[in-house]
Symmetry: none
Subunit: 300 residues, 2 copies
């Protein structure tokens, strides 16, 4: 392999060489791919400081990629920088042109646009109070059950996975083996149930929500309309998506909401544990420094 002269080639060369690099050089490689701009403009000393390595390691990195020195490699990053800055306009125009006929590969642009619109809508319609209410229900519950089917199922997956990484006991009701009704029997009034369903609403999910509601379970609903059959059963309900003239939607908005719920719950738990730790030292929560871990470690 010889030294790459274009940024794309360099990227390829880095990913190819990555497995055989030492730990420190791998760190540099990640940094190079994630923040190419700093690599392009920074001095060796500054970049080394940012990556938390010695300057010499940067030269070693460049050498590992067959460059004579760091500066030589930096030229490639710089080349990419000017190229991107000059062609940005053109690329935008290109995208504009592509998405009109919506024909070939331009559809990604279209979906990105729609997703952004959904997110904007999400931010407008969801009230902060509801988020806090839901978070308190989740944190206060003995166990949190998560239920969804079909299209909404990924949201439930994410919720159960992410909540499990907090101190919250989360259980995914996936209905495997047709044992949904059996699993529902174990839910008590001290638990919480997060149900997610969109049009056309899955009947088992509706039934389950109704059942849980009757038994005094705190039901949190993530759905797509104020007319959702889930709403009557829910202590809190979030109506995401379903912008006026958009008959179909992605899962972007509900997942973003789910993420917000989880991370906010993480913060909530952290605050609570700090408080309880300061009042009674003996009875502290399991993981006092939850704030940082909730931001960094937890599956958001």
């Amino acid at each position: 392999m010889t030294q790459a002269t274009s940024y794309d080639k360099l990227k390829g060369a880095i990913s190819q060489a990555y497995p055989d690099l030492s730990g420190q050089l791998q760190r540099i490689a990640r940094f190079a791919l994630e923040r190419p701009n700093e690599f392009a403009l920074g001095t060796v000393a500054v970049i080394a400081e940012a990556v938390q390595v010695q300057p010499s390691s940067l030269i070693r990195f460049a050498n590992a990629l067959e460059y004579k020195g760091f500066s030589e490699m930096q030229q490639v990053f710089r080349g990419n920088l000017v190229e991107r800055s000059t062609s940005y306009r053109e690329r935008i125009d290109q995208l504009r042109r592509q998405d009109r006929p919506g024909s070939k590969g331009g559809s990604l642009h279209q979906f990105v646009g729609e997703a952004i619109a959904e997110l904007g809508n999400l931010e407008e319609t969801v009230r902060a109070v509801d988020v806090m209410t839901a978070v308190k229900l989740m944190c206060g519950a003995d166990r949190v059950y998560v239920l969804a089917q079909r299209r909404a199922f990924p949201v439930a997956c994410y919720l159960s996975y992410a909540l499990s990484h907090l101190d919250i006991k989360a259980y995914l009701l996936d209905g495997a083996g047709g044992m949904l009704s059996e699993a529902l029997k174990n839910i008590t009034a001290r638990d919480a149930l997060i149900v997610t369903s969109f049009r056309s609403y899955s009947q088992p999910v509706i039934d389950a929500a109704g059942l849980a509601h009757e038994q005094g379970v705190s039901v949190i609903a993530i759905t797509d309309s104020a007319l959702s059959p889930l709403k009557p059963f829910a202590r809190v309900s979030f109506e995401v998506g379903s912008t006026v003239d958009q008959p179909f939607r992605s899962l972007v908005a509900p997942l973003c909401l789910a993420q917000a719920l989880v991370v906010t719950a993480g913060h909530h738990l952290a605050e609570a544990s700090i408080k309880s730790a300061s009042t009674s030292q003996s009875k502290s929560r399991t993981k006092p420094k939850k704030t940082t871990s909730a931001r960094n470690g937890v599956a958001p």
Copy 2:
């Protein structure tokens, strides 16, 4: 007048000062406005050579614009360079920095902002060719298997669900009952495998991708970095997410990509069926009018 800190201001300052500059400094000024990239990246010597002046004149030029030295002025040019190359995300980041004080209910806003930034990044990094390649692999395969674990699992759920609503035979490898390796044995070279994994990459998924690759299966990877261990095994790989200073990410970007893949696949099938229907009427595909149904009816 004081020294300009933004490129726009600097441009204004240059044109304002222009008439009062000496002939040589005017020439430098023209060059600075016409080829700002060279000004941003070049050394004093090479720029002086390009403008056909002495290096000292460049310093005089910077001094005339109230800068302490040339390097100081060059920083402005460099700042403009990176801003133009990353304008979309940069603006988002700026917005997010602003809403820091609104810590209370602002978290949702924060996640929405980050999600939008991710989507912007997605659009920038994903090439239309790769989408089409992946779509062709999916449509051409006998069966499409979808594999992911842990954090990435929701993406696989969505893909298998949505693909099943096309004419594509999709199978979700959820590893339930620890029967992943058994399921893998059934995959043949005529099939396709979509693997999704993010840091830290799930070993079973990596192994499965490697195995499939060895057996000649078309592997499509959705991952988060060019350094992903999945990449070597993949016929096509999408690197989504990993925005600059975000150590954690949501599933928004990969899900949006998944949606784009599915719907594009739907279009592709529809076109193919129309073509085959027009050539030989008797041998038409199962559902000729796929175009609309793929957009509206199918799980997007």
